[in-house]
């Protein structure tokens, strides 16, 4: 009797034997993975799908992860593979991933960055509260409500270029705040 190919039917199931510690690692790194994937394929409507695929593979590959080693590096390399596979399926070119040397250097850089560490999201939330009302409103409009720079420039009567610089500075401000906050906590 023919049996159905499980993956074809979408019936793949995570291994039931995943350890709670490993699952915790996967959970803790969700926002880091999302930020990493978003940096590689910004504006792609499938970012959530790629993250989902990454999670499924991470769950299936627990045995390949050496306890105590760098989980972030392990997870990022799987996410990178998933991004590549997604681009191949969609027959899309991506300049950043096509240049393998540059891609390696950027991956290394992102893995070293404090902003890619798992606790950074908590610190980001605290840092957002330190912004002025106007700065926070701008962030909300752009990142929650999806306003484009062009729309924001009309609302705020500023040029797009000046808003670009403002967001650049705000992200740097948040990066500094996150790093400081993380350093304070660890000391």
């Amino acid at each position: 009797m023919t049996t159905h190919n499980e993956s074809e039917l979408g019936n793949e199931e995570p291994r039931p034997s995943i350890s709670p510690e490993y699952i915790q690692l996967v959970i803790n790194h969700q926002s880091s993975l999302y930020a990493f994937i978003q940096t590689l394929v910004p504006g792609d409507s499938s970012i959530d799908d790629i993250l989902q695929e990454t999670n499924i593979t991470l769950c299936a590959k627990e045995a390949n992860f050496e306890k105590g080693s760098n989980f972030r590096a392990f997870a990022f390399s799987i996410a990178r593979f998933k991004v590549l596979s997604h681009l191949r399926d969609k027959k899309r070119h991506q300049w950043l991933l096509a240049d393998s040397d540059l891609c390696e250097e950027l991956m290394e850089n992102m893995m070293q960055a404090p902003a890619s560490q798992a606790p950074a999201q908590d610190h980001l939330r605290r840092c957002l509260n330190k912004l002025t009302d106007h700065q926070r409103q701008l962030m909300e409009k752009r990142y929650r409500e999806g306003y484009t720079l062009r729309e924001l420039s009309k609302i705020n009567k500023r040029t797009e270029g000046s808003l670009q610089q403002l967001f650049h500075r705000l992200r740097n401000l948040l990066r500094d705040c996150i790093e400081k906050s993380m350093a304070t906590k660890s000391s």
Binding site: H4, I23, A35, L51, E105, L128, R144, G146
Partner: protein
Amino acid sequence: MNTRLHHLIEQHLTGKLTPSGEKELQKLLSESSENRDIFCTQGLIDGRLRWEMKNSLSGLPTVEMHQRQPAIKKWMAVAALLILVLIAGSIIRTQFGTSEPQAGNKTAHSIPANLPVRTVARLTSEKEANWLFGGSQQTLSSGFWFKPGEWRITHGAATITLDSGAKITAVAPACVELINSNHARLIDGTVSVDVPEPAIGFTLDTPAGRIVDLSTRFGVSVEKDQHEEVHVLEGEVIVHYGDDHQQSQLIGDKSSIQLNTSGSSSKLSPAPFRPESYPREIEFAPTAQSAGQDFGFVHWSFDAVDETNSFAAQGTLKGADSCLAQVVTPQENQSRNTTKGAFGDALHLNGDGTWLKTNFPGIAGAKARTIAFWVRIPPSARNSQAYSIIGWGYSDPHHSPQKWEIGWNTARFPVRGTGVKGAVRTDFGSGHTIGSTDLRDGRWHHVVSVFTGGEHADAATHIRHYVDGRFEGVSAYRQQAIDTETDTEKSIPAVIGKYLHPGDQLFKTFHGSIDELYVFDTALTPSQILRLKQTNTPPAQEELLPTPET
């Protein structure tokens, strides 16, 4: 300050980098580690901001909530991960729903346990058919919704129509396993299969092989002695066979083959063509039970506007003819509201405050319904102009809405990234089902929203969409039991082109053209939907199937 680098990074982060910009940014990043630092910082913080805003809006558990739990138990951890996957993924289902919420689906990231099972097919006609359930013989009336699983017919004959539109006609004795909306398995017996163009790719597995349809009609028999035959009555199919079905052969029009199982493999050889051995589709004959049910429709063709600035309605539902759709226009806007449509003229709304009111109360409760229309949405349509094509029901800003509403998905609600932007979206209260085709391309599309109805009906499982006659994949769904309130003081009769929520500031009015809008008080079949698209002809009263409880 490297303004140019900042500009290019900004373009990259919004997905708007041009090919020449890509080259320039690539060069800047390759030549300086400082530039790479800037790029990575900006990218990571940008991504974290998106994640934060996306999840803090949802009200659902976030990563950090789980992190705070000191001793997370295994099952809780799994649940937490799955919740995360649900938040992140909005669950994209493939076109024919291979990971749909269906019986036996083991997909861990699929559905809450209490979600009703989604049906995949419908009994569209039968002739003295008996079915075997739990050891006893039962009859099923036409219109019955099939869940995934094995269905054994023990007497008579029946035609089962899958949601994709593929029809399987089985003559007793036969056993068919319904796998999903475009995939079945013949366990034993004889069937014929009719596959319309929108369901091309329909797959029928047999013990010895797999038949993939290329828009055709074919017959298959599986005998208990492991002998199988495939007869192509019209068109072509591909038969996969051998070890793990790795071999395949195209079988042409009016030809046939036999498959014989040999161990774990199968062999293919010629067979005499015997088309007469396969049944034709059973014609639907109303039963006493179904004949007693009165179904109908209301239809706005938008072909002519009268002196009161109203569009006429017609149809077979009681009072349909009096359901005029009257144009409501702000004083400052007196622009023309008609345009050339898919059939005759169409309604055109430019999102500037113009909409149509009717006195059609809508379909109430959890009664099945089908809403069909042509729509043309310009690529420039804004999120605030997404609602609605049609809506009705109870909508009080201070209470949970009990309204039925169809528009296009802005991918903002309940969280950013929900479903495919621009796809058809049917909402009920806080529940919804969202399609997968972006309609905002300035072309006419035939769109149908079918609600299968019933006592345990849910917005997540009982709504299907068809776009241009094709069964639409689901890009996101959300649970909500359905009970449309059309008879309260605050219930609003059907409105066309306006968000139903009174006083809402978020949505304005619909921007686009609408033509041949039908509302039926039952669920149409895929072939009726296809015919409506092709000829603008609604099914006759006696062709409308009842929708018995599943």
